[in-house]
Symmetry: C2
Subunit: 372 residues, 2 copies
């Protein structure tokens, strides 16, 4: 491990956002030791960034940027840029601010380069800007960048004053991380980093396996109620995993679609009802297809048309339930301000397993195939 002084020296070379990214991952006592070794100015910048919540604009923004008053003309601006050594290492746009330091426009460097020296900066700048509130969630920030094809964006505080900027290269990593996070959360694999300590992987994963164990017990309890029925007809034990497995798969499909749509802000309160209707119709089509296949196959293999009918109806019921569960569970988690990717799998699988066994075995009893 590096000494605090060495980490401090290294982070001082970086833009604030990169320095913060390194320091926020340290233990609290290490953070303090590193900050104590930093130059006062850098230290103040990092400390101020750390006052914002993790995964917000305040954490990912850099404080260094180029901001100029409206009345400057292109020639003044170029001279200012040439003379001023204290500018950030990389910038792609400059921000034009009013006397209260509130952004009034954004100017791409290419527009500056292509304009004559005597033109006012305010004539070249774009007035419609996407301003990022400092407490905005980073996922939301990334969506703005994608929606408006931004290369950089001004970050403002509660008073609307310019306090930093976010550049697209940081957004690229956030988009990658958030999307990967969904894959890994949905599978219950935690961080899912192949280089993290085995201990961390074990802790992250075993938690979900234990949760899965609890939900599997619910399904097993349902089966145990029908123990007598299974003793009468062992075909029920042979066939029931098929109903649960395909229901689980159908639920996972709908769930993945819902989770991505929620992450992309495409599934909103206003269209939830429409999407549920859409998934219901897909579930009827899927369920109908699978029901016919499984029903006919079962009737033939076991020479038992009633058993075929029972599994077909159970399959259809379970796939429709899976469709609802696949959308309902992520939407509910989202409304409860939980990450919809986090616990969706466990709940959806529990619902499809339990309802699959319940529908199949109770229909077997209800149809008179076996007695209770």
């Amino acid at each position: 491990m590096l000494e605090p002084g060495q980490i401090a020296d290294l982070t001082e070379q970086l833009d604030t956002d990169d320095a913060v990214a390194i320091i926020e991952d340290l233990e609290e006592h290490e953070q303090k030791a590193v900050l104590a070794e930093m130059e006062p100015e850098e230290r103040a910048a990092v400390e101020s960034a750390l006052t914002y919540e993790e995964e917000t604009a305040g954490r990912i923004m850099q404080r260094d940027m180029v901001a100029v008053p409206e009345h400057m003309n292109i020639g003044d601006l170029i001279d200012y840029l040439r003379k001023n050594d204290d500018l950030p290492t990389e910038f792609w746009e400059i921000y034009v601010v009013d006397p209260a330091h509130r952004p009034v426009g954004t100017c791409q460097l290419s527009w500056i380069l292509r304009a004559a020296r005597d033109i006012a900066v305010s004539d070249v700048m774009k007035r419609e800007q996407t301003l990022i509130p400092v407490d905005m969630d980073q996922e939301e920030v990334a969506l703005r960048f994608q929606k408006y094809n931004l290369i950089s964006a001004a970050v403002v505080n509660e008073d609307g004053r310019l306090i930093g900027m976010i550049t697209v290269d940081d957004i690229l990593h956030i988009v990658e991380d958030e999307a990967s996070e969904d894959v890994l959360l949905l599978s219950g694999a935690g961080e899912g980093d192949i280089n993290e300590p085995i201990r961390d992987s074990y802790k992250a994963r075993v938690r979900w396996l234990v949760a899965n164990l609890a939900t599997a017990l619910v399904a097993s309890f349902v089966i145990s109620i029908f123990g007598g029925a299974i003793e009468q007809m062992v075909a029920l034990a042979i066939l029931m995993p098929i109903v649960a497995s395909i229901g689980g798969n159908a639920g996972t499909q709908t769930m993945a679609v819902s989770v991505r749509a929620l992450a992309m802000n495409e599934l909103t309160r206003s269209n939830t009802r429409r999407i549920i209707g859409r998934e219901f119709r897909i579930a009827l089509l899927n369920g109908g297809t699978i029901a016919v296949l499984v029903g006919i196959g079962t009737a033939l293999v076991f020479s038992n048309p009633m058993l075929g009918g029972v599994i077909a109806v159970a399959m259809l019921i379970n796939i429709v339930i899976a469709g609802f569960a696949g959308i309902f569970v992520p939407v509910m988690l989202d409304r409860m301000d939980q990450d919809p990717a986090l616990a969706s799998s466990v709940f959806v699988t529990m619902i499809t397993d339990t309802m699959g066994f319940l529908a199949f075995l109770s229909l077997a009893v209800g149809s008179g195939l076996v007695s209770f």
Copy 2:
């Protein structure tokens, strides 16, 4: 729908890469009709882009960019930019080329703005560049952008000549799409767009449900072999879905980690063996924990220590198998040049279901709990 002439007018307003993105999604006869209506120059640009394979650099690059000779100085360059109306609407870097039009350096606009007029462009440019071959896969291009924090990159043909540029805003969409694709492919939900026609969603999804049906039959066949054992002890039917379900979950965890690591180029031939070793140890820890919990619980609930021992051992075996399957299946698909996210789920679930039932039921027979 718009008329071909209207689409042609619209796409002519766009950068080539955006025009291509629209036109490549049309049916072939629509493509021809639209191209026929375009101005010769735009048409040539789009047609040339369409000669490159889908999802390669050639498709996503724009042809318009700023390229200047090495001997130019900053003043000449600024005058050139001011006078030339034919430049792309947005650019963030300029490329410096040799007489054969091969890139020799890249120059950020901020460096140009900050340098004095008499300095040579070649003194300001960065000589180490990340050149993108025109046939490079877009996922690979996106990884380069992430790795080197690029804002734009020069695209070169087989002769090393500069033929286009790719900007980071396009990469943002690719990163998002590729990562989302993984979530949706893993779940078997196809495109997973909540706005696509129901017919398309049905076709994409039912295919995987049918595939899942086929694999579920394999598992059912294994159960049917042990029909006699289940008739003797109905507890086997009650418990066997637990073994399969948790094995499936453990397999999905490993699979998600492997698929993401493959997508990020972190899982390579050189470290596959190490990662398999890592997953094996995690599987032993997870399997051991779950085996103890399930074994003790079963022994107590069914007052049958032997049954507890059987399910514990079966659980451990299945979680270890799940760990291997979760890494082996995606890696094999990848080596066969298939997208590792595409069919992994179906295979991994088949393996964990089948091996779960097989291990549990055959151990029950082998231990003498039931006779075959």
